[in-house]
């Protein structure tokens, strides 16, 4: 995950303490946004901590960056932080916990910055476990749609292959949308096994459910959650991003149909 910060000081920004606070808040909120948190929770967490430090906080949450303006007395300070990153519920939990620790006075600014650095550096869940868990979940999904044992087996293998390929291609710097198309296409081709070799009685279910692990469920939910809470710009941004991913997985499926010339 990368993050850059731009400083924009108003003419009356003379308080170095405000600048340091603003650095922390912008870093914190950008990381929280990148982890897939709803805009409402970001606002609540940051305002809770700002109240503890006795500063007024105005946040502007945009699709790809957050602008935070702090003011105390006559002094103001503004920071913008950009984010790129993946959904991370551990980070959302840990950052919420951190905001309460700060609000309750259990730690000060320096402690909070150390905690934030520790949360950022925590490794994600073991990728092998995640890959197998996702494959099992997708195979169960196939069963939910009344797929038989052969369909489930091929969906399991298709998800394993597609998930690995997606992670590897993203790591090599390929655009996430292209990675999604490649993964969708590969998963669909593998899931066509029952169709091609005549295994089982539900080959169509295997093909249809093989790409469902790519459906961006969390971005869709976050988009509608922001919509309900009145953050329309963020809502539209997340919705468009989710639709983009859905179109990409659909494109992968269509490509697979074209390559194998299935109807």
């Amino acid at each position: 995950m990368t993050m850059t910060m731009m400083t924009k000081n108003s003419e009356s920004s003379l308080d170095a303490g405000l600048a340091v606070l603003d650095d922390f808040f912008s870093d914190y909120s950008a990381f929280l946004l990148s982890s897939g948190c709803t805009t409402l929770r970001i606002e609540k967490n940051v305002r809770r901590m700002a109240a503890r430090f006795g500063v007024d906080c105005v946040m502007t949450v945009m699709p790809k960056h957050i602008e935070i303006m702090l003011s105390r007395g006559g002094a103001t300070d503004t920071r913008m932080a950009y984010w790129t990153g993946g959904i991370n519920f551990y980070a959302i939990t840990a950052l919420s916990r951190l905001s309460w620790k700060v609000a309750d006075g259990k730690i000060g600014l320096d402690g909070a910055r150390r905690c934030l650095a520790a949360i950022k550096s925590k490794a994600r869940m073991n990728i092998v476990f995640v890959t197998f868990a996702a494959a099992l979940a997708n195979a169960s999904f196939c069963r939910l749609f009344r797929g038989d044992a052969w369909a489930m087996l091929f969906v399991f293998i298709a998800t394993l292959g597609g998930f690995c390929v997606k992670n590897k291609t993203i790591k090599t710097g390929v655009d996430a949308r292209v990675a999604c198309i490649i993964a969708g296409c590969l998963s669909a081709i593998i899931a066509c096994g029952p169709h091609i070799f005549g295994f089982g009685t539900t080959p169509d279910v295997a093909v249809a459910t093989s790409v469902l692990y790519l459906v961006p469920g969390i971005p869709f939910i976050n988009a509608f959650s922001d919509f309900i809470n009145g953050h329309y710009v963020c809502s539209m941004s997340r919705l468009l991003s989710a639709l983009e991913t859905t179109v990409c997985l659909g494109t992968g499926l269509v490509l697979a149909d074209y390559i194998l010339k299935l109807q």
């Binding site: 519920f89 916990r97 996702a134 249809a208 459906v215 509608f224 309900i228």
Partner: protein, 138 residues
């Protein structure tokens, strides 16, 4: 639990996610078997998930969304979204334009309605139990 693992949840919350998702999905299954539509069934199931997530969030020491969002993932209408895209692609340069357009528009409405009602369903308990929802990680 498998879909939740993709989003790197706290390990403590994985069991709760699985339990809540199972109850929610079971609730929706029963409602669909009794003739309820998918939109109404998804709303009721997500309301149940929302209540359980808020109540269990204190035990799991994580925000209610970290329990309810992964639990909702199996109920996301992936098949309808896939058929929506299939209909859209089929509209392009096809002689059966009307059939594919019907497929696209029907699945578009169902997908968006189900997701909207699911999110409303999990948001209502958060608003009703605001104190618990926003102090779970305290």
């Amino acid at each position: 639990m498998g879909f939740a693992a993709i989003s790197n949840p706290p390990k403590k919350s994985l069991k709760c996610c699985g339990l809540i998702a199972g109850i929610g999905h079971g609730c929706r299954f029963l409602l669909l078997e009794h003739g309820w539509g998918i939109v109404a069934g998804s709303f009721v199931a997500s309301f149940v998930i929302g209540i359980l997530a808020v109540l269990l969030s204190r035990r799991a020491k994580c925000p209610a969304e970290c329990l309810s969002f992964p639990a909702l993932l199996p109920m996301i209408p992936g098949m309808y979204a896939y058929k929506m895209v299939q209909g859209l692609v089929g509209c392009m340069g096809s002689a059966d334009y009307r059939e594919y357009f019907d497929m696209f528009s029907y699945n578009l409405i169902i997908t968006f309605s189900v997701i909207l009602m699911m999110v409303i369903g999990i948001t209502i308990p958060v608003f009703l139990m605001k104190k618990i929802s926003f102090t779970a990680t305290k």
